[in-house]
Amino acid sequence: MRKYDETYYYHKHARRWRRLRNDWSTILAMNIYKSWDSPILMPESLVEDSSFSYALECLLYGDRENGNAFLNRTIEVADRILAENRCLWEQTLATTGYPRNHAIIQRDRAYAKWLLGGDFDRDVMKSCARQLVEWCLTKANDHEHFTDAFTMNYYVQGIRAAIIACDLDLAGELVRTKQPLLGLHGHQRDLWRKLIDMYPDLTDEFDGEFETFFDLVRDPDFQERVGKARNFIIRDILALETGIIREMYIINASPHRNPDPENVLAAVAR
């Protein structure tokens, strides 16, 4: 019988948090709105890179104070970008990334609210799934035939969003794409397809395969390398979402029950 709890990464989160213990307040004090009067070319980066990802780093170590401050910043920045329609502003680069950027902003805001104790918003996740895939299939530079790690990453994020939205019909449709998904993106597609096809009759063998994948991607140092170069994978979001899917479909009796944020964080961080 395989032991599911044999891989521990908590010490890596702890080491990193300690190294950066003086940086969290510095980052929080930086004026994230300082270029607000100019076109914002990558609005999703303000929400994800500069707010939500830092929140995850703090929360996975157990630093609720800074973690919550970054979660609140995620919500505040996302609210402002969406209220001012900055993803479709002045025909700048942001419009090239629309609706992918819009989906990411909505999704990270929904996760931030959930991690602060709010409801888990499945409608947002369904909308996010559709927007991510719409961008991949219509606006990505290789949308007619995926050759690009960027598009592959966001297409698979769309599949995960549909699974988290409990819309297995949509997820099943997305997972059957004929588009090539290479490396870890292809591995994920196969794993999510098995989950969709088998659910609710998941086998021990599937559980084992899922845990092996989860152990791989929740390692803070995980990267998929091809020679000297690396694949494009937004690892922290992948680890969080794999933890959410695990809680919904493997741990809980029903995926319609709200996943417990503390359980998910503990599983990702352990």
Partner: protein, 124 residues
């Protein structure tokens, strides 16, 4: 310097590399596109900055790769400063051997797509 390229299958994608220096006004970040040609290079060869068939979508994608590369290779306040710089003030630097150059029209076209300054540099 920092790595900004990713690979899936057999193709490398992204800017050739990123670099930064400290200035009195903060960090100056450069997104570098390197060519081996000792002559004026036509606009269409600067694909990573949006001059090829994929247009601005390629540049936007490459900024995404650069953002992720910064998150991988730096941490804390420096990471945040670099992210802020590539979102806003970073400069596109076209570099090549002695004799390399890009026309004014090409430089303006790149500025137009990327919304940031463009300079030409010679490799030493």
């Amino acid at each position: 310097m920092f790595r900004t390229q990713v690979r899936v299958g057999t193709a490398d994608q992204g800017f050739d590399f990123g670099s930064f220096i400290e200035t009195p006004n903060g960090l100056a970040v450069f997104l570098n596109e390197s060519k081996g040609t000792a002559a004026i290079v036509p606009a269409g060869r600067f694909t990573s900055v949006g001059m090829g068939r994929g247009g601005a979508a390629v540049f936007e994608r490459n900024l995404g790769f650069a953002r992720d590369a910064i998150r991988e290779q730096f941490e804390g306040a420096l990471q945040e400063q670099l992210l802020d710089a590539i979102r806003n003030q970073s400069t596109i630097r076209l570099i090549g051997p002695q004799g390399f150059n890009a026309s004014e029209t090409t430089i303006n076209a790149i500025k137009n797509v990327t919304h940031r300054p463009v300079i030409v540099g010679i490799e030493r």
